[in-house]
Symmetry: C2
Subunit: 492 residues, 2 copies
């Protein structure tokens, strides 16, 4: 594996970058701010995507595909949304290149091929989609529309990080249309629950569900619901958002429907999305100085078997024994690989699969064969145990479930320990600076105070938690009255 990565203690940010590159999840590209998702990273994304896609379909959604480009006149129709994204838009202005008359073999933009109207590369698809829904919706019979799209989007960011913040990223965006406000709000909440369930049950990352303050809302939404996760460095990360869009887009694109009584009204909307950013959250929630730690449910490879041998005969004996184990594991739908590559030594392989976060490693040598056992190492706790080859498949199958659970519990304990109630400004600063994590504090409900706190501490209101109890108190900064606590944190 060559040299190790920077430790978290030494430089958390460098640890993250080293890890992404060294585990071969992603690589930098020649395009500013755009990354390459390498095969190992993409296999991880495919597992995440497939699990989510099934959850979307199980809740009645269907997939579709809308254009990459949004004509500027459509893009600007919903003014708040347009304003929110205008500064991050990649813009196509021409549709042809031509030979550079002055430099042989080079190309220049053909000024004769200037578009009459510029095209925005979608930063999000509400505009292009609602412009289509206009043609698809006439009556309540056409509702609801429950469409999801898996797509690439582009937001021109000045400071980028692999997975966490890239100019182009992959995501899914749900765009639904409803006859009533209540139905749209129910959909918004349902999809937040789907996200929370996915992130907790598949990624083993516990989340806090809540609602954003007006300052942090999606541009064009009436309400933004979110799930917030906590990274090992004590910073929060927004893991998914679900927006109740009210009638804003229906009004901007004039999408009306006639109800059962033939009365015309604007359609109600939601949108919701998660992206490859989730991979960044996954890495930072679980991994250690030896590399990734991946939850079994979405790990591209769940089990690796490494033979330890000195002769071809030994190798052959191990291979024979292992064949059955592999077949049994595959019958249990376990993703297993037998690495009998002669080019690298076992120690090197161990380090490599630790770096890649493979949940379980099985090593088998001649002595193990004699004793009819194998050495089984779990990646999460690094514990090793000797397991009898009789029924080893079932043991591994159960071990994978145990690892999944243990990873969630460990992260959940960390999260629970890092939600700290404070009642004074000094405590607020102290927890934020020293203990880190979420700070649960009273806030007076104004944008001014929210911004002032951000300016003073870099902490933002991550959410008003769904489970917050109504409780009288005074704002931690201004001393003005407050009815409930909100969660502050420094965030990615």
């Amino acid at each position: 594996m060559g040299k190790a990565i920077t430790s978290r203690h030494e430089d958390y940010s460098q640890w993250y970058n080293d890890l992404v590159l060294k585990s071969e999840l992603a690589d930098y590209s020649a395009v500013r701010g755009c990354m390459i998702i390498k095969p190992y990273g993409f296999a991880l994304w495919e597992n995440m995507r497939d699990a989510l896609d099934k959850m979307f379909k199980d809740t009645g959604h269907v997939n579709a595909y809308f254009p990459l480009f949004v004509p500027k006149s459509l893009f600007e129709a919903e003014e708040k949304n347009a304003e929110g994204f205008a500064k991050e838009c990649a813009v196509v202005t021409h549709y042809r290149l031509k030979s550079d008359p002055e430099k042989k073999g080079k190309l220049i933009v053909d000024e004769d091929a200037k578009l009459e109207e510029e095209l925005v590369v979608r930063p999000t698809s509400e505009a292009i989609i609602w412009n289509s829904y206009k043609n698809w919706i006439q009556s309540y019979r056409n509702l609801p529309i429950l469409i999801n799209q898996w797509a690439n989007v582009v937001r021109w960011e000045m400071r980028t990080r692999l997975f966490l913040r890239t100019a182009e990223f992959l995501w899914q965006e749900g765009h639904t249309a409803h006859a009533t406000r209540d139905e749209a709000i129910a959909e918004t909440k349902q999809m937040l629950d789907v996200y929370a369930s996915f992130v907790e049950n598949f990624m083993a990352v516990p989340v806090i569900k809540g609602i954003k303050t007006p300052n942090e809302r999606f541009a064009g939404a009436e309400d933004t619901y979110c799930i917030e996760a906590l990274m090992q460095d004590g910073k929060a990360l927004q893991a998914g958002t679900s927006h109740f869009l009210g009638q804003n887009f229906a009004k901007a694109f004039d999408v009306k429907f006639s109800d059962k009584n033939n009365k015309l009204d604007y359609v109600w909307a939601t949108s919701w999305g998660v992206s490859t950013r989730l991979i960044g959250a996954l890495i930072m929630a679980h991994s250690d100085d030896d590399g990734l730690i991946l939850p079994p449910k979405i790990a591209p490879l769940q089990v690796v078997i490494v033979p330890i041998y000195k002769s071809d005969e030994q190798k052959q004996q191990i291979a024979e024994k292992v064949t059955d184990i592999i077949n049994n594991l595959k019958q249990l739908n376990v993703r297993v690989k037998y690495d009998d590559n002669d080019l690298t030594r076992p120690g090197w392989k161990f380090a490599e699969y630790e770096m890649k976060g493979v949940p379980v490693r099985i090593a088998i040598g001649p002595k193990d064969l004699e004793n009819n056992v194998a050495e089984v190492a779990r990646r999460d706790t690094k514990e090793k145990q000797s397991i009898s080859l009789e029924n080893i498949s079932i043991a591994i199958f159960n071990l994978l479930a145990d690892i999944q659970l243990n990873m969630f519990n460990k992260a959940k304990n960390f999260l629970d320990e890092h939600i700290t109630e404070v009642n004074t400004w000094d405590e607020f600063i102290d927890v934020l600076e020293n203990k880190t994590g979420f700070v649960s504090a009273h806030w007076d409900g104004t944008s001014e105070t929210e911004e002032k706190i951000k300016e003073l501490t870099k902490a933002t209101i991550r959410c008003i938690p769904s489970n917050a109890k109504i409780e009288e108190g005074v704002c931690v900064l201004t001393g003005k009255p407050s009815a409930q606590r909100v969660l502050f944190a420094k965030a990615y």
Copy 2:
């Protein structure tokens, strides 16, 4: 369903457009030349994609994702490739919009945010990928690289058709790197075989495998292998291509590897792709004046069950009987829907599912219940039969296989009947104009003759078929000597 579509006889082209819209596969969008793939069309694409993806993985390929944008300096590096695509490139020149100072609520391109180097929206990804492979390949140990990407690409076309030719389309592009010429050629041929197998076995569309003439080659390739299909109007359609790229891209991007003897050489490359254009081929190969005819293996819905009832009691009785049938079909992995919607009458439903090409329709009324049978209609031949409800699931399962086979056989007969050997120019013109289809003729091997024939007849050389026998003859236009026949046709 409202009014029917234009008949093929009346206007083939209009029939196609009507059908795509009416069956709800796709819709026009607000972006010139870009289409919306609607949920029904996308479900079809998902089935095609999943089947292909499995075939790619079974042949050792992995998926990855590379940036949407290609910096102009990289794009122009492989000159022939750049020249081939320059006229179709959408170009991003700016990365920000700003408020229009003269029109409130409107946006304009921010001229202060002009990119130093323009970005081409990928028309194909060889350039951005080989620029990355440069960093990934040092020695033969890093080879082969067998990567596939599912992505959107943009080629600015002046005349567009839904699915067949759109400015943005979805596709997969394989990009492989090899240590030897032979290995790369074997890969190129293997992937052509994969495509042929997919199109014939899943889409039920027979194809001719062959190789393109230099005129028709992919820009930047040494050889382009292709599969060609025949549409019902006698025009050919290129259904997939697999390119042997030689060392062209390795040289353009300076990608060398050291072999086992530590000797440096340029890497050998292939690329291969199929796109949503295949859906156009699928439609035109099978469908009729009543709508789509979809092969069961990829049909989003394979069986629809329509109850015929006059009272709620009858509806209830049918529903009870049908529950078991549906469960049994689902256990056989049959995609089935029970349409007991009260808002539309059975006749309307029949027409709708015919339009959507659902392979099998089952109708059950009170009389059927009495006799313990159902009326089963197959979409391909329109034949109806009464089938006993005992074991109807197995009967339907077998019927789906029969439909798949029958659709292929019908299309195969049509293809075989439309490959016509001609030996004179008069025959050539006559077959092309009256019989249509592929014309198998001798050609003198020059680009001049090829172009002259295209100019005179609009027919192009679709391919030099892989199975062509060596046979002396004279060129159908020039009378010059020729060693084998090639296939001409008018094409999409």
